[in-house]
């Protein structure tokens, strides 16, 4: 208990829409321990963003928390008073967003934004400036003092993302949420950012919840992985376990489809046929059933997320011997 930082317990979140309730997250459970890097993988629309906004409680007005808890250091974030929640954001929990071109105020200098973000610390403005310069140096921006006077559009995308990381780590958070921080960058920058993140993580000892659809990055960076599909966790466990011995057909297909894994030259890249089911009108049984090649009659019932061995969970009937199903 004491070394668990973030616990997500049976979380279900709906969006109220004109077509009926969109079941964006269903029975999500996983936890993040102190100083651990947990990756979340899944294709677009699988609920990654909803999950982040639920943790930060910055959700759209039509969001409804149906059940479950998001506990941070033992306190439920979903029922916490707004004021207390706001004090957690940016101090104990920080976030890096996907698109570095959009996350800075275009009309304020970087220095001003980095000073402003320290509004909770009671030190003089010049001290805040020097802290800001120190953080910029820590993320590898040369000549930080002079750079503080510049505006966001004077930096490149990679630099802006590093500035975003500097701003997120400035308060020395316990949990850093990284929402696809390298998706908008090119491949060489991606490696740089990941390495920088790893270094800083060792220095600051914060836990990182790393959201990505890039499996290579996840394998490189994370200790554990949570694989999400259509708003549910289908598999979770240690990175090594998941990548070497995936127990859910979706995870297996996802790894097969990763261009980094394909050895031979192919004319057409492999894909998973079919589409993510309509979340407003969920089919019965296993959600992956329609796209799964190994689907059987048993899949008409929803498979539970079962512990297969220490640190490896999967939700698929294939891991259960035939007779135990009925």
């Amino acid at each position: 208990m004491s070394d668990t930082l973030l616990e997500i317990d049976n979380l279900s979140v709906d969006y109220e829409t004109a077509r009926g309730d969109l079941k964006a997250l269903r029975d999500i459970s996983f936890d993040v321990k102190k100083g651990e890097i947990v990756g979340i993988v899944g294709e677009s629309g699988c609920g990654k963003s909803t999950l982040i906004s639920s943790i930060l409680r910055l959700t759209a007005p039509n969001t409804r928390f149906r059940q479950g808890e998001v506990r941070f250091k033992g306190d439920d974030l979903l029922t916490m008073p707004e004021r207390q929640m706001r004090n957690l954001r940016g101090s104990d929990i920080s976030i890096i967003f996907q698109d570095p071109m959009q996350t800075h105020n275009p009309v304020l200098s970087i220095g001003r934004q980095m000073v402003d973000i320290q509004h909770r610390t009671k030190v003089s403005k010049s001290e805040k400036r020097s802290i800001a310069a120190k953080m910029l140096a820590a993320v590898g921006i040369p000549d930080p003092e002079a750079r503080l006077k510049q505006y966001p559009h004077e930096f490149s995308g990679g630099m802006r993302q590093r500035i975003a990381i500097a701003m997120a780590l400035m308060s020395e958070p316990d949990l850093l949420i990284a929402d696809e921080p390298t998706t908008a960058l090119d491949a060489t920058l991606e490696v740089q950012i990941i390495e920088r993140l790893q270094e800083l993580q060792r220095e600051f000892h914060c836990a990182i919840l790393f959201i990505s659809h890039h499996l290579g990055v996840i394998a490189e960076l994370c200790d554990r992985v949570v694989v999400m599909y259509a708003g549910a966790v289908v598999e979770s466990g240690d990175v090594r376990e998941i990548f070497h011995d995936p127990k859910h057909p979706y995870t297996r297909r996802l790894i097969e489809c990763d261009p980094g894994h394909i050895k031979e030259r192919a004319r057409v890249l492999p894909t998973i046929p079919g589409e993510v089911p309509d979340l407003a009108n969920l089919p019965d049984g296993c959600i992956f059933r329609d796209r799964c090649e190994q689907a059987t009659d048993r899949c008409a019932q929803v498979p539970p997320l079962e512990k297969l061995k220490e640190g490896h969970f999967a939700a698929c009937w294939l891991n259960h011997p035939e007779e135990s199903s009925t």
Partner: protein, 285 residues
């Protein structure tokens, strides 16, 4: 502090690069200069009557001639500029400040408050300005303050609507979400992060609005509902000149020309400012 200075100099340099902007800047500068130092540069007392010299044509001693009471027209034109700015500046900046505050609240606050404020704006806007002014003047009498009040009340909705639209666009932008995710309070988001993004647009609007207000003041004074008689005003000059247009045409010129110049000057300046302040256009330069 040094930073905002450089920002201002960037804007001024941008305006000066554009020929029309430079012209506007010069005209506005002249009007503002003569208004500030009016008391020292007027050649005669603008309200001092001199019956023997009445209705004189322009000459070396009276550059713009004299009116039916022998008052020097040039002195009255300069003093009238001061009156015009005394009405226009407080009215426009007051309306901008109030409109900005209400507009940002409407754009960022709850839906019901937005609806309420928009209803208020639309109600105020539905009064024709001149009719509203006539009604107010009839109620509380003509004076400088009355005009300032009328102008302010009628132009708050314009600023409010623009501020609201800007706020609505910004509130869903990613950097505002990022600030919220970093624990910024509502006042911090509005004051530190949104205000600098909105103020430029409103400043341009204000610069373009000043000539309208000057014209409105002149119009009310022309109708005899503006500033009280001995006080010189461009509109009052026009009115005096209009009655005697055959005998003393220089009065109409003296009242009309500054209105035209002020309108052109502020409009050129405003348009040029718009091009410089707009961050999208600025990036391309």
């Amino acid at each position: 502090m040094a930073k905002s200075h450089s920002e201002l100099s960037i804007i001024l340099r941008g305006v000066a690069k554009d020929p029309l902007g430079l012209l506007g800047l010069i005209i506005v500068g002249m009007i503002v200069f003569s208004a500030i130092f009016a008391a020292w540069i007027v050649p005669y007392d603008p309200i001092g009557m001199n019956i023997p010299d009445r209705m004189q044509a322009p000459s070396l001693s009276h550059w713009l001639g004299t009116d039916s009471l022998g008052r020097d027209t040039l002195s009255r034109v300069i003093m009238g500029g001061q009156v015009a700015l005394k009405v226009a500046l407080p009215a426009v900046f007051g309306a901008m400040a109030i409109g900005l505050t209400l507009g940002m609240i409407a754009g960022y606050g709850p839906k019901w408050l937005d609806n309420f404020l928009m209803l208020f704006f639309d109600t105020v806007r539905s009064f024709p300005t001149v009719m509203f002014a006539l009604a107010v003047v009839a109620l509380i009498g003509p004076s400088l303050q009355t005009i300032v009040f009328v102008v302010m009340a009628t132009s708050i909705p314009t600023y409010g609507r623009v501020a609201r639209t800007q706020t609505l666009t910004l509130r869903n932008s990613e950097f505002i979400l990022a600030e919220r995710a970093m624990g910024a309070s509502m006042t911090r988001i509005l004051g530190v992060h949104m205000l600098p993004n909105i103020i430029g647009v409103l400043a341009v609007l204000a610069a373009m609005d000043i000539p309208t207000v000057i014209a409105l003041e002149a119009g009310l004074s022309f109708l005899g509902l503006g500033v009280k008689p001995p006080t010189p005003s461009w509109g009052a000059l026009l009115k005096d000149g209009y009655a005697l247009i055959r005998q003393t045409p220089w009065l109409v010129v003296g009242g009309g020309l500054p209105i035209i110049l002020a309108t052109l000057g502020f409009t050129f300046l405003g348009e040029s400012l718009r091009d410089v302040v707009d961050p999208k256009l600025r990036k391309n330069r």
